[in-house]
Amino acid sequence: MMIKCKINGQNRCFDVNPLMKLRDMLLLNGNFAVRDSDDGEGFCGSDTVLVDNLPVYANLMLAGEVDGCAIRTPDALGSSKKLTVVQQAMIDAGIVQSAYNSPAAALLLTWLLKKTPDPSREEIRDVLSGIYVRDAGYEHYYLAVKLAVEKKRFGEYKTEISPSFRSDLDYIGKPVAKIDGPQLVAGEKAFVEDYVEKNACFMSVLRSPHASAYINSIDTSEAEKVEGVVAVFTAFNTPETYYMQAGQGNPEPSPYDRRLFNMKVRHVGDRVAAVVAENPEAAEKAKELIKVDYEVLPAVFTVEEAMADGAPVVHNGTVEYRSGAPENLDEYNKTAGDLREGKVIYQFPLRADVKKNIAASNKGSIGNVEKAFRKADAIVERTYQTSQIQHAPLEPHVCYAKTEGGRLTVYASTQVPYHVRRIVSWVTGLSENKIHVIKTRVGGGYGSKQDILIEDLTAYAAFATGRPVYCRNTREEEFIANSTRHPMRVHVKMAGKKNGKITAIHMEVCANTGPYGNHCLTVPMNSCSKTLPLFKCKNMSYDLKVYYTNTPPAGAYQGYGTPKGNFGLMMAMAELADKLGVDYRKMALKNHVDTGYMLEILKGLGEGRDGNVVPVGSCGLDEAIRKGCDMIGWEDTAKKKKKRRKKGTPEPEWKIGKGFAMVMQGSGLPGLDHSEAIAKLETDGSVILHSGGADIGTGLDTISAKIAAEELKLPLDKISVVSGDTDSCAFDTGAYASSGTFFSGNATWDAVKKLRVMILQEASVQMNESIKHLSVVAPGAVKSHKTGRVISFAELSHTACSGSGRGQMIAHGNFVTEASSVPYGAHFAQVAVNTRTGEIKVQKFYALQDAGTPINPELALCQMYGAVMKSIGHTLYEDMKLDASGRCINANMTDYGVPMIDEAPEDFRSILIDVNDEHGPFGAKSISEIACNGAAPAIGIAIHNACGIWLSDWPMTPEKVLRALGKIK
C-alpha cells in the first residue's frame, strides 16, 4: 500500500505493508530517535510522536493509519548545534541523563508549551503521564518547563537551577550544561542500536521453559535449514570455558559457575540455544524449530527451600579453587552429581558449600554482643523480607559485535567496558589486544549493565561466524534472563537502654542469588558493610549466607545490598525506640557516627578480603537529620504515640505519619578499584581527555571535563572527553559501587595536574624562565609573574609539536586509594494511609545528602530524585511474581508496576548538605546509589507512625496494610 504522509513538514511516500508499525516506517525514514522500550506495550513513551498534532505511541499505530497524516518526530525539534529553548532547558535542569527517551519528552513538552504557554504543575504532570523516567525522576521536569517559560518570556532564566558550591571555583559545584546533553536530547546517534549496520545479522536466544532440567539432546537440523540462518549455538558446539557474568575486579568474588551454554538449565529463561540469522524473522522461525530433550528436575525458589534438608542442589558438580582450596576438596567432590552439572570454580574461598546450595557466606563481630543483649532494657527482634526487583532501564540489554581487520569490535551499553573485554577474551580465546570494546551512551543501567549478560554471547557469535551480530533483549527477557535485585531475608536483633543508647546489633542476612552467583558475596556484604557503620555501637555482629535457587538470576543493582540491610536496621531502630518510649529522632541523633569515630566493624567486611578499619571522614549525617526533621515538622514519636492512645474520638480514615532513615554508601571500593585517564594537549591548545571511566548517563564525562577546565583554566568547550573506549583509553574498573566521581574523577584530576606541570615545564623552556615564576591562567595560557608575559596553550603546544619541538604534552593519571569517602544522609517521608482501603500515598519526600562537593549539582539532585523514585517503587509497587513452576508471570512494564509521574510525591525535595571531603576530587563524594537506601525504611516507619503497624515485607501493599490492621485474614 502506498502511504502518503508528511513527516516533519516533508511530503513522504512509502510503499509498505499497511500493517507495519508506524515506528518501523519512521525508522525507514531515518527517524531513529523514535525508540522502543517496551516492545510496543504502550507504556514507556520512548516511541512518542505527534500525529496530526497529537502525541501518540508510534508502536501502537500502523502505517496504514497515518495515510494522509502529518507526523512530527523528536529528532526534528532542533539539532545539537541549534537546540530549542525546551531542549536547552531540559539539559540545564539536569534531566537529560541516560536520555533514552529524552527526545520524546522534549517533543511532549514542546507540544505542551505551544498549546499552553505557561502550564500548571497539573498540566505538566498530565502531559508526562505517558512517559516513563527511571534515571532522573520527574521533579526537574517541572523545573525544565519553568526555565523554558522564563527563557521565552524574559530571554533568561529567573529561577535558580540548583544551589552552587565552592565560590572559589569556576566550574566545579556549578550547574553547567552536561556536555553530551545536546547530542542526547536532540536524538542524534548515541546508543548501540544507532551503530548497527545494514548487513548485521540478528541473534535470538531460545530459553528454557523449565526451572531446572538436564539437556539430554538438542536437534538443530531443521532450524539450520531455514533460509537466512547463519549458525545455531548450543552447549554442544561452544567452548567449555567457565566464567561468570559479574563485572567485577579480577579475581572476582563471584564463582565461575556457568558456560556460554550449560548442559543443565537452572531457571525459566536460561539460555538453551542461540540462532544467528540474516533477519529477525528467520531467527525467530528457526528458534521454533529447535528440538530440545529435557530431563526435568525438581527446583527450589526460596532460601527456605534451598536450605532445607534434602533440597534439590542447584550446582551439584565439582568445585575447584584457583587459590585457597580446602584440604578436603577431593573428598567433597566425590559426591558430585551428573557430569552435566558442570563445575563451580572459586577464585578464592567464599565460605561456600554448594551441596547445601550456599554460594557464599561470611560472619563477624565486634565487642560482646551476647552480653550486651543480656544487659539491655529492651530488645527488638524482627525478620524483614525484600522482593525480587528488576532494574527496568528504558534501553534493554543490547550489543552489536563484528570482526574487522582481524579484531573483534564490540559496541556495548555497559558500565564496565574493560570487564566486558576481559570476559569476551575468555569466551573467544582472543587476547585483549584483539578486542575493541566501545561503550556507547547507556540508556539506563542501575547496576544491570555492570553484568555482562549479553555481550559474551553476541561477541562470541560474531567471532565464530565472522558476521556482524546484533542482539537486543526483549522486555520479557529483561525480566526472566537478566540480573535482578537479590531477594533477601534480613533478621535483625537490636538492643538498647532506656536512655536511647543502642547497645547491641545482630544481623542475619539470607540472600537468594538465583541460579548463578553474580555478586553473590558482595551484594549481601553491602547489607552489613554500608549500614552497620552508621551506628556508634560497640557490640555488633553479622552472619550472612547466600543461596543458589532456581529463580531468575540476581546480580548487581544500584545500592547493592544496602537498601535491604538498611530497611531492616532502621525499622528495627524505630521499633526499639517505640518500645523504649524514646523519640526516634533522639535515638538516631544519639547513636549515629560522626567524624573521627573508628569503624571497627569494617575489619571483616571487605569484598572477599579483610576490610580496613578506618575513621569516619567527612560526615553530614547529623546536619541531614536535624535539617530534615525541621523541614518535615518532626513530632516526638513517643509523645505522638501517647496522644494517639488518649484520643477516643473517631479518627479520619486517611492517617498521616512521618518517618526517616539514615543512609550511607561508599565512593568506590578502596583497595580494589582502579582508574586511569590520559590528558592530551592538542596543537591548538585544546584538550582531549581519554577517561577509562564509563559515563552511563550520570554526567561523569562532564565531571571529567569540569575537573580539567578547573585545573587548566580552560573554557569547558576546549575540552573533549573520550571515555569507555578500551582502545583509546586506559584501564578503569568501571562505573559501579559509586566509583565514578571519586575514582575516575580522581584519575582525571591526576592526569590534568600532571599535564599542568608539563605545560609549565614546556613554558619554562619556551619562555626561558624559571617555572616558579609561572602559573596557568584563564583562558588556557601561562603567565610569567616576573615579566608579565603571557603565552597561550595553543602557542606552547604548536611549538612543542613543531619540527624542533619536545613533543606533544600527554599526561597519564591514575588513582587507587585505601581511603574511604563515605556519603551520608537522611531521607524523610510523610505518608497518608487509608485504614479502610489500605492505600498508601507518599505525600512528601525529602532526601538530604552529603555528597561532598557536588561537581554537577543539578545532575546530582536529579539522580537523587531518580534513585528515590526507584526506591519508592521497590517499597510500594514493584515485585517480580513467579508461579509454581518458577515462571515470572508479570514480565511486562504494566503488570510489574514501576512508578510513573502519578506516583511521585507532590512535595518532593532533594537537598545537598555542604560538606567538603578530603579525598574526593575537589572534595566530591558519590551521589546516586546512596539515594536508593532510604525510601523503604522512611516509608515503613511513616506507615507505623500513621497507623501503628510495622510492615516488614516489600512491597508494602494495601493488602499487607489491611492484613496488618486485621481487616482481612
Binding site: V56, G64, D126, G130, R836, T837, T894, V898, D902, E959
Partner: protein
C-alpha cells in the same frame, strides 16, 4: 496475526469485509499493542468514518423519551471525552482512570467497550449509569442496546460495529478504581448509581447487581493482583462509601 488491512469509507463498507476473522481498528491501543489478545486476519480501519465521531446532547426516544443523553461517537477518544464540557463528570472520571495522556489521545471509547476487559476503565461505569450503545450489523441494521444487554450477550454483539455510546445526562455515578500504580491494570473497578452496583474484577469478570449482598454469588480468585479475600474486602468497604456519595 493480521494479514489484511482495509480502510472503510462507510459503515456499510466496514460491515461488509467478507472476512470471517476480522476486527475493527480505531484507536489501536488494544489491537496493536504487544500481547494483544485480538487475533484477526483482517483489520478494518474505521478511523475515517464521520458517523463515528462527535459529541452531542440528544433526547431519548421510546422508553427513554423523558431523558436526555450525551451521544459520544464510537471513535471519540478518552481525551476528547475528558475535554468536552457536555460530557457528564462521572464519565470523564472513568476516562481519567486511563493514566497515560498519550494513550488517552489514541484510545477510543468503543474500542474499550468492545475489548470487554475485566480491568476495563469504563465498563463498571457504563453498567451503573445505564448507558446505551448504538450498534449496527449487516443483518439487522442499526439498533440501541443497553450496556447490560451487550455485556450479557457479548458473544452475539462482539462483532457488531458500535456507532455511538449514549450516556444518561442526569445519571449519578460514584466510582473507585483500585490498582497497584495508576498505570497498572485495575484489580477492581466499582461503580455505584442510584439503581445498581457494577464491578469489574480482574481475572474474575464484570458484574452488575441491585444490592451489594449479591456479590456473594461471585467467586473471587487469588491472583498476582491480590487475594480473593482482599478483592472481596475492597468491594465490601467501598460500595457503602460510594452509595453515600451517590445519595449526596
Amino acid at each position: 496475526m493480521a494479514e489484511n488491512f482495509i480502510v472503510a469509507k462507510t459503515v456499510e463498507e466496514a460491515l461488509a469485509t467478507g472476512s470471517s476473522s476480522f476486527a475493527f481498528l480505531s484507536g489501536g491501543t488494544e489491537i496493536n499493542r504487544f500481547g494483544s489478545p485480538v487475533d484477526a486476519e483482517t483489520l478494518v480501519c474505521i478511523q475515517k468514518l464521520k458517523e463515528l465521531e462527535g459529541i452531542s446532547v440528544i433526547n431519548g426516544t421510546g422508553d427513554y423519551a423523558e431523558e436526555k443523553f450525551v451521544r459520544l461517537g464510537a471513535n471519540t477518544t478518552f481525551q476528547q471525552a475528558i475535554d468536552s464540557e457536555i460530557v457528564p463528570e462521572y464519565f470523564r472520571t472513568a476516562c481519567r482512570f486511563m493514566s497515560s495522556r498519550t494513550k488517552r489521545n489514541m484510545a477510543t471509547l468503543a474500542g474499550n467497550v468492545a475489548a470487554f476487559r475485566d480491568d476495563s476503565y469504563l465498563w463498571a461505569m457504563l453498567l451503573a449509569s445505564g448507558a446505551i450503545f448504538e450498534i449496527e450489523d449487516s443483518d439487522n441494521g442499526r439498533c440501541g442496546v443497553t450496556a447490560l444487554e451487550y455485556a450479557e450477550n457479548f458473544s452475539n454483539y462482539g462483532k457488531d460495529l458500535i456507532i455511538a455510546l449514549l450516556i444518561p445526562g442526569d445519571a449519578v455515578v460514584a466510582q473507585k478504581r483500585y490498582a497497584n500504580t495508576a498505570a497498572s491494570h485495575a484489580v477492581l473497578t466499582i461503580a455505584v448509581s442510584r439503581s445498581c452496583i457494577a464491578v469489574a474484577v480482574k481475572d474474575t469478570g464484570i458484574f452488575i447487581m441491585k444490592k451489594a449482598s449479591e456479590i456473594s454469588r461471585v467467586e473471587f480468585k487469588d491472583d498476582m493482583f491480590g487475594s480473593a479475600a482482599y478483592k472481596r474486602y475492597l468491594f465490601d468497604v467501598t460500595v457503602p462509601e460510594l452509595q453515600k456519595e451517590v445519595v449526596k
